[in-house]
């Protein structure tokens, strides 16, 4: 069990991501014929809720810079994830090698 623990947890994460994709059905287009979007950002939906609670509210500050398209947005998000994952991978590689090396040394010292 212990041996497969990490693998099982990774599978669980994949399942947690996949289940909503399969479970949530796209609702039929509304009376105005507009397609209903699913899997929008929760941040965006919060904006809609603000719109229903305080219809008169006007945002008083605009983002200084906006990604010119959704594609560029995902480029930057991918970059953010890649930087982080790259560093973690590098660190674990170093740590793995170091712990093997340390073990080999202490083994050699015992002989």
């Amino acid at each position: 069990m212990k041996r497969y623990q990490n693998l099982l947890m990774m599978i669980a994460v994949v399942v947690l991501v996949a289940v909503p994709l399969w479970m949530v059905q796209k609702p039929a287009p509304g009376p105005d014929g507009k397609e209903v979007e699913i899997f929008r950002g929760a941040d965006d939906q919060a904006k809609d809720v603000i719109g229903t609670i305080a219809p008169g509210y006007q945002p008083w500050f605009k983002p200084l810079m906006e990604p010119p398209s959704g594609e560029i947005g995902s480029l930057l998000f991918a970059l953010q994830a890649a930087l982080g994952a790259g560093f973690i991978g590098y660190y674990l590689g170093v740590a793995n090698t170091r712990s093997k090396y340390d073990k080999a040394i202490s083994k050699a010292a015992k002989c």
């Binding site: 623990q5 990490n6 947890m9 990774m10 669980a12 994460v13 947690l16 991501v17 289940v19 909503p20 994709l21 479970m23 949530v24 699913i38 899997f39 929008r40 950002g41 929760a42 941040d43 939906q45 919060a46 904006k47 809720v49 603000i50 229903t52 609670i53 305080a54 509210y57 945002p59 008083w60 500050f61 605009k62 983002p63 200084l64 810079m65 906006e66 990604p67 947005g73 930057l76 998000f77 991918a78 953010q80 994830a81 930087l83 982080g84 994952a85 790259g86 560093f87 973690i88 660190y91 674990l92 170093v94 740590a95 793995n96 170091r98 712990s99």
Partner: protein, 225 residues
Amino acid sequence: MHIMEGFLPVKHAIGWTVASAPFVAYGLHTINKRIKEKPEQRMLLGVAAAFTFVLSALKMPSVTGSCSHPTGTGLGAILFGPTAMAPIGMVVLLFQAILLAHGGLTTLGANIFSMAIVGPFAAAAIYRLAKTAKLPFGISIFLAASLGDLLTYVTTSCQLALAFPDPAGGFAASFAKFATVFAITQIPLAISEGLLTVIVFNALARFNPKELKEMNVVTAQEVQA
């Protein structure tokens, strides 16, 4: 949990910024002090920051039919204590606010408060509690990281409900609406974050048992197990 640019009234925006500033300043102080005392922990601090970078970039689908992302702050909060996460969270939020128009500068204070203060403090406290209750290492980490993540989103819902109370039902009605958007969506994602944090901790416990012991994260017996 990113409140969008300009979507908090001026008074709230200033209030949350003032509330977050001392945590960020104290966090910087504790990080500097620790790096000076234990320079070898610098890399591990980088790992904590990198984990937050990765997780907060991953927008995952949820059963509510919307997308949100984990925060990744639990790992660093357990390793370095909650105060260290305030400046690290700020860096991530600034990156997203400036380059991605995700979150914002006027809402930075509020977003720091939920993601980089409440989340990490909750995670660290839950981890300590779980340890005192003698729960196994993996379960303690899981509970700390996932509940810290969830509480971040509950905090965002509170912040928005305070800023936009429902004309009829007041704060409570408004909180219920925002929490439906944020907190319910977040439940499966919080579980994912908990699992991913345990995976990273398992790797750290295997390769860096000495550091974890020094940092009082684990006891000697747990490392051998």
